[in-house]
Symmetry: C2
Subunit: 310 residues, 2 copies
DNA sequence: GTTCCGCATGAATCGATAG
DNA sequence: ACTATCGATTCATGCGGAA
């Protein structure tokens, strides 16, 4: 059983601002990862979460993407048990975001609909933590509806050329004006990428949390790097990033992909390579850590909107 | 502490096809209900769920609408503990639906976004249970896009009057053809009801589950009737319904509302009135049970679609 | 250079079949 | 009986090739 605790131990206490990861789900990805059974799952994860608690800054946040599978016609309970055990470790279970996957896996069964959501569990060390809500504001909820309504209304009243120009103008108007804070439900589609690796989640997902919980120059950690989506997004947003994965292929792939960015804007300080593992064979631990100098003027996008919420 | 176990005991074993309810949340609505603390919540609910297990048919389903509150900056864990305990009682935790509330309660906090979702926990007695999936099918995802696309195309080619008629024809085509099964994420708006009861339970929510898990003539139970939304919807859909509530005002309100329906299509068999309670004062148990004869031809809407999926 | 159709492909789940 | 493997089911998305 590969575990990333060994590599995590090399990281300093209170050094990470955001941990965001999507560990292998129980009995899933058996070919690439070990394939942890639902029974073992909590015991397998607790040593890792203990290390994560150590390396996270007191103001930092841990986002855990997970979903229990169906077993014997029932939803498994290992996620709930994990939450309860992590609280005993000292974690605060601050919030549960919902990732509503627009394109979920198809299929039909006599007693069940398609599973179209996953948990995004937020854990913290302290009640006080950094949160930059203005960075993830979204266009007002009326926007989409208004657009459709306007479209059909103008269709009835005007000819085509007028519709098109008026439509464009209105759009830009709305974009400039109405922003609101989001909720704890995220509505994103999974990415159908043609790459060799199936990306765990779309880039917009880590992007949202990185913007929300870190500022430029902060450090983001993904202990189950996979294809490195989190790290790539972190680089793009001028955050330092650390990635760990037990699969060497992923390690090399991400390294080559990140090096493109490195040329543009990163400065690589350290790469933890394939150490001699005293585990069983095929169990190499790999890790990457990119340090980067933030660009000159910290881009502090202030979109401070004090809307009239009566 | 008012409990509805007393009234539940008067119901026969294996007599209910669907239980759907939204119990008072912990530490909420303290003025109307007893105000159960998060600490007591599981112990308070378990005797009730035990009775519900008894009265539910083996093929029946129990839908529990609940959401843990924030306490001391953390999400409480009583819902998870309740699930674990109910499994020990013999319940199967089959599925967790998400109710995505489009227009959630407004507000802003420094460390938290608006809560826009609630849990709809599905419990069953057996792995085999009744589920009528065809009754809740929804238009295919392409539907909206196709409609808009077609709309704009016809706009280009035809004048308005022709567009309207052609549009209608096409729509009906699509409606007949393009249906898909829904997922386990429900996307409904909360109702802005001006009623005296605080529960914001849109009618479409119980309607969805009643259609999905019962057929006409079946029996629906809501042990926390409140304003009676579930019962009213059940009547409208030609299902028998039983409602229980400890608040006499609600009882009377629902009774008057349901009597309108009664005139139209129901036949009232029994009403459990204000019994002499040997609890502390202000703790009356009230209940309503409506029996109704289903209309002559059972409306067996068969939308059996054997599409040509090569 | 657009638009459109066809196709492959998923953090899936059930039921049957085989050891 | 109990576990492992396989086929069937199903739909949003993005890609490539074609008009």
């Amino acid at each position: 059983m590969g575990d990333c605790t060994k590599h995590l131990k090399t990281l300093k206490d209170n050094s990470v601002d955001l941990i965001i990861t999507s560990p292998p789900y129980a009995d899933q990805r058996k070919d690439t990862y070990g394939g942890i059974s639902t029974h073992e799952y909590v015991d397998w994860f607790l040593p890792i979460s203990k290390e994560l608690l150590r390396v996270l800054k007191p103001t930092g946040t841990f986002i855990l993407n997970i979903k229990e599978k169906v077993q014997n016609g029932e939803r498994s309970t290992y996620v709930m048990e994990l939450i309860l055990e992590m609280k005993k470790q000292g974690w605060l279970w601050t919030e549960e975001f919902i990732w509503h996957k627009k394109n979920s896996y198809p299929g039909k069964w006599p007693n069940r609909f398609r599973d179209a959501w996953e948990r995004l569990l937020q854990f913290n060390k302290n009640k006080k933590f950094n949160m930059y809500q203005e960075e993830v504001m979204i266009p007002t909820g009326d926007w989409a509806k208004s657009r459709l309504k306007k479209l059909s209304e103008t269709d009835k009243k005007r000819d085509n050329s007028k519709v098109k120009s008026g439509f464009g103008k209105n759009i830009s108007n709305w974009i400039d004006r109405e922003y609101a804070y989001p909720t704890n439900v995220l509505h994103l589609a999974t990415e159908c990428n043609n790459k060799s690796h199936s990306a765990a989640f779309p880039e917009s997902l880590p992007e949202w949390f990185i913007k929300l919980f870190t500022k430029e120059g902060d450090t983001v950690l993904d202990p189950f790097m996979g294809s490195g989506t989190t790290n790539i997004v972190a680089q793009r947003l001028y955050r330092n990033s650390i990635g760990i994965d037990i699969m060497p292929e992923y390690y090399n792939m991400v390294k080559s992909e990140l090096s493109q960015y490195k040329l543009l804007l990163c400065e690589q300080n350290a790469v933890y390579g394939n150490e001699n593992s005293n585990h069983q064979s095929g169990d190499n631990l790999c890790g990457t850590e990119y340090k980067q100098v933030p660009p000159k003027p910290y881009r502090q996008a202030k979109r401070a909107k004090t809307k009239n919420n009566t």
